[in-house]
Each structure stands twice: as C-alpha cells, then as structure tokens.
C-alpha cells in the first residue's frame, strides 16, 4: 500500500466530513420542507468510496454516477453553495434549479451527472471514454455503478462495448447491499458482482473495503493507471447507505445491520488511522469539522437567499441556440 501523506489524508477527512454534514443538513431541510420533492438519496455512509475514488483522478478525467450523487459532486469540487442551491431549486444551483438532487451537473469539473434512470448513464460513460481514445488523450472515465444497475441491460451493453473498444473506463460498483429495497443476493445470480468482469474479458480488480478511504484510493489508483494504458476495469466496493434508499422510504432500514456498519464508519476509520499515525492530530480534525460545518451553514444561507427560477427559466435551454 502506497504511503499517503498527512495533508492528503486531512483533505480527504475534510471532504468526507463536508459530505456527511451536507447530507445531514439536507435531511433537516427536507423535514423542514425547504428541500421539496419525494426523492432524495443521501450519500451518508458511502463517503470513503466516493472520496477515495475521485481522489485517484486528475482534473481532465471524467466522473459520472447515478442518483445518489451529492457526495460525488462535492468530492469532485462542486461548491456546497452550488449543490445546496440546486437541492432547493434555486436559480444559483449548478443547473439553475432544473435538475435538483438526482441530477447535479458540472461541465467545469467534468462531472457528467447525476442520472435517475437506473443504469442509463453507463453507456454514456463509454461514449465519453470513446472521445478520449478517439482524440488520442489518456483521460479516463470513472463511472460509479449501483449494485442494482448491475442487473439491467445498460450494464451489459456498456461493459461489453467498453471491453470490445478498449475504452478507458473504471467501472466502480458501489455495492451498498440493496437495489432500492431488494438485497443483492436476491437479485443477482452472482452476488460477487466484480466477477462479471470475466464475462466481458475485462480486468477484474476484485472487491475493496468501501469504508476505508485509503484502500479505495489505492485500488482505484491502480485501476485508473490500467485504464489509461490498456482498457476498462471493474471494481466492487463494499459499503452501506445509512439513510435507506431515499428519504421517503426507510421501511427496510435494519437497525442491527446499521449498527454493525456504523462500527466501521468511514469517517471513524480515517480518524483512527490518522490518530494512530500522527500525534496530536485531534485538534486539527476538530478545526476541520468546525470549518466544514460552517461551510455547510453558509451554503444553506446562500441557497435560502437565492432567487427562485422564473417562467423564462422554464422555457430556456430547450435547444442550443447559435
């Protein structure tokens, strides 16, 4: 395992804590009806997977994911202001309020969304990767894949195509145990999802502990290097969602299971790692936590003070006008 320096670890801690705070605040705002709608899928519990994987990329690489997208957008550098304003449907949101929770977007960060149709983004990832290869670049696409998406046709077509065309894609399955409410072993003939790589003639990089940001970073870094030079890679990250599928549906939350996973909470795992390796780091962590809580409150204030979209906004951006 490569040695990660302290500033990098602290930066990951900052990002993970920011995401956790952002999601907690979204939950509060949802209950206060300041974030409306019935669909909001929180990233709490999955922070190490998103932060560790995105950290393995350079800015010219690409990221795409499904509807549980807040954490990944923040890890990629979207400001909490831009994300929170989008959550509240404000003009200052990343998509001017048209997208909302599940459809964050940022061209400047090569963050290609945010997709609400399960698996629909997977062949798009292949297309974005095709551009990289077509133009002789070595940029890669990191495509997050839900465990549920691994059972539909998009997954099959996209992974097969990426293998046939040697496309630079890292397919990273976030296996959080459930596709909506259905456990992986009930919906997948082969519940070790990474093994499907064999069927596509693709590099299988196995399973990674999705609660450990250092482990995720190391595995995804190797995958990214492989994808740059050779072609697609499949990885499966084992993780857990603390808040159920979405805010409106917690019927299958399992308290015992949740407590088990919280024993290996990704933020605590990194905290332990830092405290073991660096003396007196606790104060630095406290400072980071205070700063990130303030950053989220500032984002909420910004979003609350922002204008709501107008009728003109409703009818704009239907076609590109040139």
């Amino acid at each position: 395992m490569a040695e990660i320096d302290k500033p990098t670890l602290l930066e990951w801690y900052r990002q993970m804590f920011l995401i956790r705070q952002f999601e907690n605040q979204c939950d509060v705002l949802y209950k206060e009806k300041k974030i409306t709608g019935v669909y909001m899928h929180l990233y709490s519990g999955l922070e190490a997977t998103g932060v560790g994987a995105v950290a393995a990329l350079r800015p010219s690489d690409h990221v795409i994911t499904a509807y549980r997208d807040h954490g990944i957008a923040l890890a990629r550098g979207m400001t909490p202001e831009s994300a929170m304003a989008e959550m509240m449907g404000k003009r200052t949101g990343c998509s001017g309020g048209k997208g909302g929770s599940m459809h964050l977007a940022s061209r400047e960060h090569n963050f290609w969304g945010g997709y609400a149709i399960v698996g629909g983004h997977l062949p798009l990832a292949a297309g974005i990767a095709l551009e990289s290869r077509y133009n002789g670049k070595d940029d890669v696409v990191l495509s997050f894949v839900g465990d549920g998406a691994s059972n539909n046709g998009y997954f099959h077509e996209a992974l097969n195509l990426s293998a046939v065309w040697d496309l630079p894609v890292v397919w990273l399955i976030e296996n959080n145990g459930y596709g909506m409410g259905t456990p992986v072993e009930v919906s997948s003939g082969q519940p070790e999802l990474h093994k499907r790589a064999v069927a596509y003639g693709m590099k299988d990089m196995g399973r990674v502990d999705g609660q450990n940001v250092v482990d995720v970073y190391n595995v995804v870094s190797k995958a990214v290097e492989y994808a740059r030079k050779k072609g697609p890679v499949l990885i499966e990250s084992l993780t857990y969602r603390y808040k159920g599928h979405g805010v409106s549906d917690r019927s299958y939350d399992k308290m015992a299971e949740l407590r088990d996973w919280q024993q290996k909470d990704p933020i605590l795992v990194l905290q332990d790692y830092l405290c073991k390796h660096y003396e007196c780091v606790e104060d630095e962590l406290k400072d980071i936590e205070r700063e990130q809580m303030a950053a989220v409150f500032k984002a909420v204030e910004f979003a609350e003070d922002s204008e709501v979209p107008t009728y003109e906004d409703l009818i704009s951006h239907i076609y590109v006008e040139e």
Binding site: A105, P123, A126
Partner: protein
C-alpha cells in the same frame, strides 16, 4: 448538376462532412467494412478507416448512448440504426438523455448528435422492418426530427443535421432509397432544418406530406392536374420538429383546404398536429374539414402483400383523397 439516388445523396453528405470535420464519425451495425445494410456507408471505411467508421455490437441502446456520450465530449457522431423499427431499445437514451441534456444541465451540456434510421413500409419487410416511428419523437421537445423526400434535401438536411448543436433524428424513406432520383449539386451546400418546402404550387387545396409520401403526393397532384384539372399545392414538411407553423398556415390561407398524408397510422400521428395548428390559428382560412390520409390503426404493417397494399397510401389513394376534398 448530377442526378443521384436518395441513398447516394445521403452517402455524399456523410462523405463530405467526414472530410470537413475530423470530429465527425459514424457508428452502427455493419457500417464499416460491410458498408451498412443498405450500403449508405459503402466505401467510407476504406477512405476514413476504422477509427471514424466504427462497427458496433448489435446493441442499439449503446449505439445511441455512446453517441450521446461522445457528443457531450464534443465529437460529432452519426449513429446509424439499421431499421427505424430497431430504435425502440434506444428510446430511453433518445428521450431521457439526448433530448434533456441541455435542459437539465441548465445549458451546460449539449448533444450535437445525428441518428439516421431508414423507415417505412411497402418493401414486404413485415412488422419489424416497415415501421414509421416519427410521431414517438416529434412529441419530445429538445429533439429535432427531419425526413427528406428528395436527394437535394437529403444531402442538404443531413449536412445541417451534422452541424446542428442539438440532437437530430434523421429518418430516411427506405422505399425511395434507389427509386427516388434527383439533381444534386456537387460540393457543399446546406438545407436549413426548420422550413418546409413548397414542392408544387397550387390554388385548389393543400396536401401536406413528408418522406416517401411527399414523393407520392407530388405524383398524385400531377395525376389530378392531368385528369381532373385540379391545382393542388404540395408542401413537403421535411422538418417535422420544430413544426413549421408558418408554412402550414400560409398555404391554407391561400387554398382553404388541407389534406395531410402519412403512412404512419392515423391516430395521434403527425397529421393530428398539423390539423391542430390549422384549428388553432387557421380556422378562419378553412373552407372544408381538414382531412387525413394515413395508415390504418393496426399494430404494424403486416407481411402479406394484399394487407401491405391495403395499409400503404399510394398515388392513387392520395389522388382519390384530393378529389374528395376538392369536391367538398
């Protein structure tokens, strides 16, 4: 001027666009060495190589989706769907992704994509090689839908489609691929996406059509001119989305009568929208009810020759509909 078939005009447009812009590439089933199922890309693989003329797996959703992804990243893909009937597996990609990307991102993303697909019946292709699918897509803001009926328009509209910053569905009347011939100037020109074309000027009534039916409607208009002395104006709609309301209203203001012809089945077909435009904004111009001649409301074009003939509008049926309307 050179006389070309419809399909050769399409091929020439792609050849010239490939030459003009290195971002343009073609992907689809058998488009490479085989030159496409209808030979629309014949010779292009030898000229441009496998990086730009890319054989895909037999998997329509990923043909379209990789096109969308590549277009997001600023390439200019032309995706070929072998038959319009096969486009349905890619419906989600076209409707949920291509059409909505610019909108959902608040204007950050764009999808300069062309999807080409041969459509239409009359070739004994039976249920899954004869469909007209345009109405599924003309209902979707964010898309543009184009159907040429002449080689001149086919070349000029396809070039416009390739250069358009939006997703364009370009449906080709496959029955006319080799049957329809016309003059095509060599070299670069475009036909703008949007305006309809007056295919034949007339005063007694207006017949609206597109694709193969526009070709037939001109033949029918000539027939009723010869046989009945009727003077029919034919409007080749050629861009179905956006709707050219001005062309529809201007012509009916002059003639007072409207017939709409398409081979897609009647109910909720494109003709319903043309009729609605006239009802909304052209009511005062009308001297007769708006008439539609369309395929019957059956699930598909069936195989047996007799049933196919019953299904398909043709110049004789169109001429009969023109006479009926003229007599009103």
């Amino acid at each position: 001027m050179t006389v070309l078939t419809l399909i050769d005009a399409i091929k020439q447009a792609m050849d010239e666009e490939l030459e003009r812009d290195p971002r343009v590439f073609i992907t689809g089933e058998d488009v490479g060495k085989r030159g496409g199922v209808f030979r629309a890309t014949q010779g292009l693989y030898d000229k441009y190589g496998g990086t730009r003329i890319v054989d895909s797996p037999l998997a329509e959703l990923s043909i379209v989706a990789t096109g969308i992804g590549a277009a997001l990243a600023d390439l200019r893909p032309i995706c070929e769907i072998q038959f319009a009937d096969f486009i349905h597996p890619a419906f989600n990609q076209i409707v949920n992704e291509a059409a909505k990307m610019h909108y959902r991102s608040g204007g950050q993303w764009r999808v300069p994509l062309v999807i080409r697909a041969p459509y239409g019946g009359g070739i004994s292709g039976a249920l899954y090689h004869s469909q007209s699918v345009e109405a599924f897509f003309t209902h979707v803001p964010g898309l543009k839908v184009v159907i040429p009926s002449t080689p001149y328009d086919a070349k000029g509209l396809l070039k416009s489609a390739v250069r358009d910053p939006n997703p364009v569905l370009y449906f080709e009347p496959k029955k006319g691929y080799r049957a329809i011939k016309g003059e095509v100037p060599p070299g670069d020109y475009t036909v703008p996406i949007g305006p309809a074309r007056v295919a034949r000027e007339g005063r007694d009534l207006t017949a609206f059509a597109y694709g193969m039916m526009a070709h037939y409607t001109v033949l029918a208009a000539e027939q009723v001119a010869r046989e009945d002395g009727l003077d029919v104006e034919v409007i080749d709609l050629r861009t179905l989305l956006p709707v050219d309301k001005t062309a529809i209203l201007t012509s009916v203001q002059k003639t007072g009568k409207a017939l709409i012809v398409h081979e897609d089945n009647l109910t909720m077909g494109y003709g319903a929208e043309v009729a609605a435009v006239l009802a909304d904004d052209g009511f005062a111009y009308l001297d007769a009810p708006v008439r539609r001649l369309a395929g019957p409301d059956v699930p598909a074009v069936p195989f047996a020759h007799t049933m196919q003939e019953f299904f398909m509008p043709n110049p004789d049926k169109i001429a009969a509909a023109m006479r009926d309307l003229a007599e009103y």
